[in-house]
């Protein structure tokens, strides 16, 4: 149960090794937090991330989570509640970026990204949301991206999945409100992190720490969406109205 200051006792991170996800968890940690669960595919990396968070009064557990194993998500969510009690905040932070040049033409590569980024997110988020409906409170942070705001030719599959989950999260969030569950959709611009290693930072590039700061502020204020950095909201409100032939030629990668 979150306290009056929005400080959570239990945090679940889906995508337990995500740089942005871990930055959000670190930012949320406070003396009332007792439990962090890192749900991830790579147990070894999860364990390293857990070691970086642990201290005397904080339990950090790593649990196996496979985004594409959607038949296991209900049981996973149920077991989290059974073991740790109420989930105060769940951060959905996993996704694959893929190489746009490959995924635009390679069906198998595109499907893998679509299944993880969209199907996996939808499945696991609904599973967690159902637990939160049952407890009458809780917050879900959905890591979307400006890539989904207007999908670029450079990485249509990634952008498409982000557009999909962004819409999904908004709609699900509205349906959860009556049950006391809050959904926050986070739309960062280019984030300098392990996911974007080797890529040239886009204009208005940001960091996991800045995304985390904006996310925690958004959670406390019960916002529905946050953009990081804030200005990118206005940049995209222009970009989304740029005529198609011009948009196609913009050097956005």
């Amino acid at each position: 149960m979150e306290n009056a200051l929005g400080q959570p006792q239990t945090i679940v991170l889906l995508g337990g090794t995500s740089d942005i996800g871990l930055a959000i968890v670190r930012r949320l940690l406070n003396p009332t937090t007792t439990t962090v669960v890192l749900a991830c595919r790579d147990a070894e990396r999860g364990e390293r991330a857990a070691a970086g968070l642990r201290h005397d009064h904080l339990t950090v557990d790593v649990v196996a989570f496979e985004a594409t194993a959607t038949d296991q998500h209900v049981e996973l969510a149920r077991s989290l509640t059974a073991k740790y009690g109420d989930i105060d905040i769940a951060v959905v932070a996993f996704s694959l970026l893929g190489d746009g040049d490959v995924t635009s033409v390679d069906v198998a590569a595109a499907v893998e990204i679509a299944e993880v980024n969209f199907t996996g997110v939808v499945s696991s988020t609904i599973a967690i949301a159902n637990q939160m409906r049952g407890q009458g409170h809780g917050s879900i942070v959905m890591l979307s991206s400006v890539a989904g705001e207007r999908v670029r030719r450079g990485n249509p599959v990634y952008g498409g999945t982000k557009a999909g989950i962004d819409g999904f999260a908004q709609g699900l969030g509205d349906s959860l409100a009556a049950d006391g569950v809050h959904m926050l959709v986070v739309r960062p611009g280019f984030v300098i992190s392990q996911m974007t290693t080797g890529l040239k930072p886009a204009p208005f590039a940001t960091t996991p720490e800045k995304v985390a700061e904006a996310t925690v502020t958004g959670l406390r204020a019960k916002r529905r969406t946050v953009w990081v950095p804030g200005i990118i909201r206005y940049v995209f409100s222009v970009l989304r109205h740029v005529p198609g032939p011009v948009w196609r030629r913009l050097p956005l990668g």
């Binding site: 200051l5 003396p31 049952g134 009458g136």
Partner: protein, 453 residues
């Protein structure tokens, strides 16, 4: 029985609501409603005046007990009232005062139910003399988790009785209680008011003079700094005797008709109107307007005991982020800890509206009862205050290191660890609870948050 309705429930601080299935039932329909209990259990809710999440049960069932005729039965000969748990102190006083009786303990608002008052083991300005409400109860009739009804008191099943007093509604649902009253000659108070320059003077004045007066409380300005640190207005009094009234008042000495002067409208700017500037200004004005020393002023009961009730829904003044109340007690001899807390609050720049400092008398036998011999401080802070979390956790450490503890009815932020340290008899309470509620029918958000369940 009435139907369940999915409702978002808040505490008085309007901070962390949860959604529960709410139902209003009469005593007759109670057993059926309790049977609805699922995995998230059942909780009785009174008027929702506890500040945090004590009267919330997210995902579970929340029962409101409808009050009805016959809920207040007064035995004037012995000064004992049998009162339904869902009856408010406001309703009760409207019956009692004209008949020459007063409740033995009242908190700072009349709008609490008897059930809530006992569950929180409330205290008032007379704690140093009269103790908390648990001391004045002859018996409680309650519904237990198995649907049976039981009457408990200090002499009959004392373990369950004292676990219920201060038990935050987690031992059963109270149906009614027999309460010993105090006789009064008039509906007025005879009040002495003194301005106190600083914290040292406050400790000294209260330590020396409190025992001779029934009601005593200090309003302290936590925005004041430096040599004004801890400046306060000490208010002491007792029920006025007939002889204290002037001729006009003496015509109807037990006249009692408290009312609200004004209500805060539902629409308040989202950031609230209580910020550091407005609070500092108010506190300054209020200190200046208090008399340096005035003796024997006759005041109405409502003005003396329930000044905040003059403004309806005043909690809305804090805006969308609500407010957090912080109340703790530290034992006598730990005045330095109290000073540290006052200093930190003053230095933090947090906009604390008038805070209340009071001397407590001895504790009662209830394992989870808050009051114990020592000093207690209660203050409100806007939920939107910057750095509030860090500030309160740092105050927690000072309070716990001094052997103090926090008040469940006010708490909205602390931790299970702080409760274990502050309430060393927690396990004793839990073992009584385990006996009467092995299946955890009774649950609340506060219980889950603080590890009581």
């Amino acid at each position: 029985m009435s139907t369940l309705s999915r409702t978002c429930l808040w505490g008085w601080g309007r901070t962390n609501p949860t959604v529960a299935d709410e139902v209003t039932v009469t005593v007759d329909g109670l057993a059926a409603a309790v049977k609805e209990a699922g995995r998230r259990g059942v909780l009785a809710r009174g008027l929702g005046r506890s500040y945090g999440d004590a009267a919330q049960n997210g995902g579970g069932v929340v029962i409101r007990l409808a009050s009805g005729a016959g809920d207040i039965v007064l035995d004037q000969a012995i000064g004992v009232v049998t009162v339904g748990a869902g009856v408010s102190i406001d309703e009760l006083l409207r019956v009692l005062v004209p008949r020459g009786f007063f409740v033995p303990v009242t908190p700072g608002t009349r709008f609490v139910t008897i059930g809530g008052a006992i569950a929180s083991d409330i205290h008032g300005k007379n704690h140093h003399v009269d103790g908390s409400i648990g001391k004045h109860i002859e018996s409680i009739t309650m519904m237990l988790a198995d649907g049976s009804t039981s009457t408990v008191g200090p002499d009959s099943n004392p373990a369950l009785f004292w676990a219920t007093v201060g038990g935050m509604g987690l031992t059963g649902i109270m149906l009614d209680a027999r309460l010993r009253l105090i006789p009064i000659e008039t509906s007025r108070m005879r009040v002495d008011t003194t301005r106190i320059a600083d914290l040292d003077e406050l400790f000294a004045t209260m330590s020396s003079g409190d025992d001779d007066v029934r009601y005593s409380v200090a309003w302290i300005d936590l925005v004041a700094k430096g040599r004004h640190l801890g400046r306060s207005v000490l208010s002491r009094g007792d029920h006025a005797r007939l002889a204290d009234l002037d001729a006009r008042q003496a015509v109807a000495p037990l006249d009692y008709d408290p009312h609200q002067l004004v209500a805060v409208p539902p629409v308040v700017p989202p950031m609230g109107v209580l910020n550091h500037a407005s609070v500092a200004g108010f506190n300054e004005l209020w200190f200046r307007k208090a008399p340096v020393h005035r003796v024997g002023e006759v005041q109405g009961l409502g003005y003396f005991f329930h000044p905040l009730d003059l403004v309806g829904s005043w909690n809305r003044l804090y805006g969308r982020r609500g407010m957090v109340q912080y109340q703790f007690v530290v034992p006598f001899g730990q005045e330095e800890a109290m000073r540290t807390v006052v200093e930190r609050l003053s230095a933090s720049g947090a906009a604390s509206f008038l805070a209340v400092l009071k001397r407590f008398g001895e504790a009662n036998p209830a394992p989870l009862s808050f009051p114990r011999a020592g000093w207690t401080l209660a203050l409100d802070l806007p939920g939107a205050s910057r750095g509030l979390g860090d500030l309160l956790h740092s105050l927690d450490r000072v309070v716990l290191d001094a052997g103090g503890r926090h008040y469940f009815a006010k708490d909205a932020h602390t931790t299970p660890d702080a409760v274990r340290r502050g309430y060393p008899r927690l396990d004793e309470w839990k073992s009584v609870r385990d006996e009467v509620d092995p299946r955890r029918i009774w649950q609340s958000d506060l219980g889950r948050r603080l590890g009581l369940i």
